[in-house]
């Protein structure tokens, strides 16, 4: 079975995709509404917390960080798979990425935006957040560039802006299509503006190709650096359970992992909502699933390495943290994480599951749950069993404010994402055309070579 029908007409591609801008299924509106409601919860919580103080989140000494940071890492991680699909696979000329990379990139962008919000939500004095920006000011004071948090800010800003640019540049030809096809109205104006008068001349295509390649090259190291920097938020500190050498690769693997899982989820949703069955085909899904499985195993391995390195180290404190994770108050969550992160993906190894939409949907959600738990299990237990014995085993349970904020963040993300898919083509039309064009050519060649072979036999 082929990744995509090769005789599919280019005009049809345009129509199908452009349809998604017009009339999705009812489910779309349901999702949108639910997302909005969820966001409402978060906004309420934030207002409450802003007025009363961080205390309502039920953090304390030593539990200075809570779900906010954990979820922050989660969303950052989520963003990585977009880059994986668009940039890495692009360099590898894996053209099956073409129908799906667009929404993957959108996912990158929006999950980064969500992550960014958590930084603000986490701050005790969010109204002073501008202190953390390096801008020449009257006070003559600068942020502290030694702080991993600042590296974070820098990295995330770079990553966000780059991904937006990457997403946009890659979309220009499609915007041109929309410009040409869409009926009159504000949208047409918008597309006209954004498509920058793209005509698809040879000169444009030439520079386009090079630029797209260059930015892709930049994005890969960038993505890696971003999550290793997030890892260094913890790795740079002296806390047991954080001060671990294998953290950066561990985080990156985790990031790709959760990202891929999220892609599967969204893949399934979009496929249904926008009737993209023809482009987001099962064979492509199968490819992603296999990729996910591979990364899951990498993550599992790095997880094991982390435990092992702690186990064999002389750092008694870290050992205690590990033991406490596995047996203390947080044990259920910790084991749940192991289950969701390492056991559940094994299901993906089975062929019959690799194309079974309901199963995949459930699994992908479980995987993401596992990855979220992982982030929480990195943050919380260390606080309740740090170096200093006086504060040991002082466990703390996040208040509804924290939960609400986490809950709402998913609403926020879904909202942005869904709106994007409605306003912009979530399948790259021109690249699907390319895909179809090249594939059909390939097959023609093969057929011809086949014919000649047959003819040759006939001759003698």
């Amino acid at each position: 079975m082929k990744d995509i029908r090769e005789d599919i007409a280019w005009a049809k591609i345009n129509q199908d995709v452009l349809k998604s801008l017009e009339n999705p299924r009812k489910l779309y509106w349901v999702i949108l509404f639910v997302a909005l409601a969820m966001l409402g919860v978060a906004v309420g919580c934030e207002v409450y917390q802003y007025n009363v103080g961080m205390g309502v989140a039920n953090m304390d000494n030593p539990h200075m960080w809570g779900l906010y940071i954990a979820t922050f890492i989660f969303w950052i991680g989520m963003s990585h798979s977009g880059t994986l699909l668009s940039a890495i696979l692009h360099l590898m000329h894996a053209d099956w990425r073409k129908p799906i990379y667009r929404f993957a990139e959108a996912m990158t962008t929006f999950s980064l935006m969500t992550a960014g919000l958590f930084v603000a939500v986490h701050l005790g004095r969010v109204w002073q957040i501008y202190y953390a920006l390096p801008y020449p000011n009257e006070r003559g004071a600068w942020p502290n560039f030694q702080s991993p948090l600042l590296w974070d800010a820098m990295a995330i800003f770079t990553y966000l802006s780059s991904s937006i640019i990457f997403l946009y540049v890659g979309m220009i030809p499609d915007l041109a299509i929309c410009r040409d096809r869409i009926h009159e109205g504000w949208r047409k104006k918008l597309y006209t503006l954004l498509s920058l008068g793209w005509e698809g001349t040879d000169r444009q295509w030439r520079n386009f190709r090079v630029t797209y390649l260059t930015v892709a090259c930049f994005l890969i190291p960038l993505a890696v650096s971003v999550h290793s920097i997030v890892a260094s938020d913890f790795g740079m500190s002296q806390q047991p359970g954080w001060h671990i050498t294998s953290f950066p690769p561990y985080f990156v693997a985790g990031a790709l992992y959760s990202g891929c899982a999220a892609i599967i989820t969204l893949f399934i949703i979009l496929r249904y909502v926008f009737k993209f069955e023809e482009y987001m085909t099962l064979p492509i899904l199968k490819k992603i699933v296999r990729l996910t499985f591979a990364i899951a195993m990498v993550w599992t391995y790095l997880n094991a390495v982390e435990f092992a390195s702690v186990w064999y180290s002389h750092d008694q404190a870290s050992k205690d943290v590990l033991i406490q994770k596995a047996s203390g108050t947080y044990a259920p969550f910790w084991w749940a994480m192991i289950f969701c992160g390492s056991i559940v993906p094994l299901a993906l190894a089975f062929k019959r599951f690799q194309t079974n939409i309901p199963v995949l949907f459930a699994v992908s959600l479980l995987l993401n749950l596992g990855m979220w738990l992982e982030r929480w299990m990195i943050v919380a237990p260390t606080f309740s069993h740090g170096i200093y014995p006086w504060t040991w085993d002082h466990d703390q349970w996040p208040s509804f404010v924290q939960w609400g904020m986490v809950f709402g963040s998913f609403g926020w993300f879904t909202l942005l994402f869904m709106v994007f898919c409605k306003v912009f083509p979530s399948v790259s039309m021109y690249e699907v055309k390319e895909m179809v064009y090249h594939r059909s050519k390939e097959t023609k060649k093969q057929e011809e070579t086949g014919k000649f072979a047959a003819a040759g036999k006939g001759a003698h």
């Binding site: 103080g53 701050l123 005790g124 004095r125 702080s147 500190s237 014995p389």
Partner: protein, 289 residues
């Protein structure tokens, strides 16, 4: 200016502190706490509340672990007491430990603050600038001693923290912290500043005993001594020297010696290299009884 400044003073900008070659001069505030004298009576802690405008958070918030005691008295019981097969009674008493900000020379909290709200002052303190703090709480997350306290609520406007009458007791020399900022023991910097200004105007440096921290002043057993480590005459200096504890070592020579040492000076978590400015003297227990 800064680029030119950068190039001019490059060597200075590459100095590290105190590990390398940054002698303090003329001041390096340090403290010694004699655990054998300390009776754990909490006087220092209350004195700190009085001096530094610490809010009383009340039972509920205390239950949430949101107490604001800069100076907390910890006690530790022997391992085996109450355990299975262990001793039935703590018959050697408890071990009390007044724990406050150790004013580390290489403080883990300083490097991680995104806005540089906590820095190392020239007189060897770990400053905390409230109005610069944005409340990322990274410093506390990175503090090995967990002695940084965060304003989870806006205490000045909270009921029964400072009613109108009690607000009159607030020390005008100390800023009252609003919600969302980190705070910690300052070695009573307001007192130090006052003394320094006085000394400066008289063209001298602060003499030993001229300035006391609130906890030191209150301590009924005089277990706390505080002063200028640079001044060879100061009690603190003499104590540190007698105990052979050196500020910029992460392992004291005396501990390397065979069969240990007769000296009881030590610094907590020294091996993590924060170079704390507080030396503790081990608690002593009679062997004959």
């Amino acid at each position: 200016m800064s680029i030119s400044n950068l190039l001019e003073n490059w060597s200075q900008f590459r100095h590290t502190h105190p590990v390398e070659d940054k002698p303090h001069d003329p001041y390096k505030w340090a403290m010694t706490i004699d655990l054998d004298a300390c009776s754990g009576c909490n006087a220092c802690s209350v004195a700190c509340y009085a001096e530094n405008n610490l809010p009383v958070v009340g039972k509920e918030k205390y239950a949430h672990g949101q107490a604001m005691h800069w100076m907390r008295i910890e006690h530790y019981w022997d391992e085996d007491v109450g355990e299975e097969g262990g001793r039935e009674f703590p018959d050697q008493g408890a071990q009390f430990l007044p724990m406050m900000c150790q004013q580390c020379e290489a403080a883990p909290c300083e490097t991680v603050c995104p806005v540089g709200a906590t820095n190392h002052t020239p007189d060897g303190l770990n400053s905390q600038i409230y109005n610069r703090c944005i409340g990322s709480r990274y410093c506390s997350a990175n503090c090995p001693y967990k002695v940084r306290y965060f304003n989870w609520y806006d205490y000045p406007s909270t009921d029964n923290v400072w009613p109108a009458e009690m607000a009159q007791q607030l020390n005008p020399d100390v800023t009252v912290r609003g919600k969302g900022v980190m705070e910690k023991c300052t070695f009573c910097v307001q007192r130090l500043a006052e003394a320094k200004v006085k000394a400066k105007s008289e063209g001298r440096i602060v003499q030993d005993g001229e300035v006391q921290t609130a906890c030191q002043q209150a301590c009924p057993t005089s277990a706390i001594s505080f002063g200028n480590l640079v001044d060879p005459e100061s009690r603190v200096h003499r104590q540190w020297r007698a105990q052979q504890v050196e500020l910029d070592k992460d392992k004291q020579a005396k501990d390397e010696k065979e069969g240990g040492t007769e000296l009881r000076g030590y610094r907590i978590l020294e091996n993590m290299r924060p170079y704390p400015s507080v030396m503790y003297l081990e608690r002593v227990r009679e062997s004959a009884i």
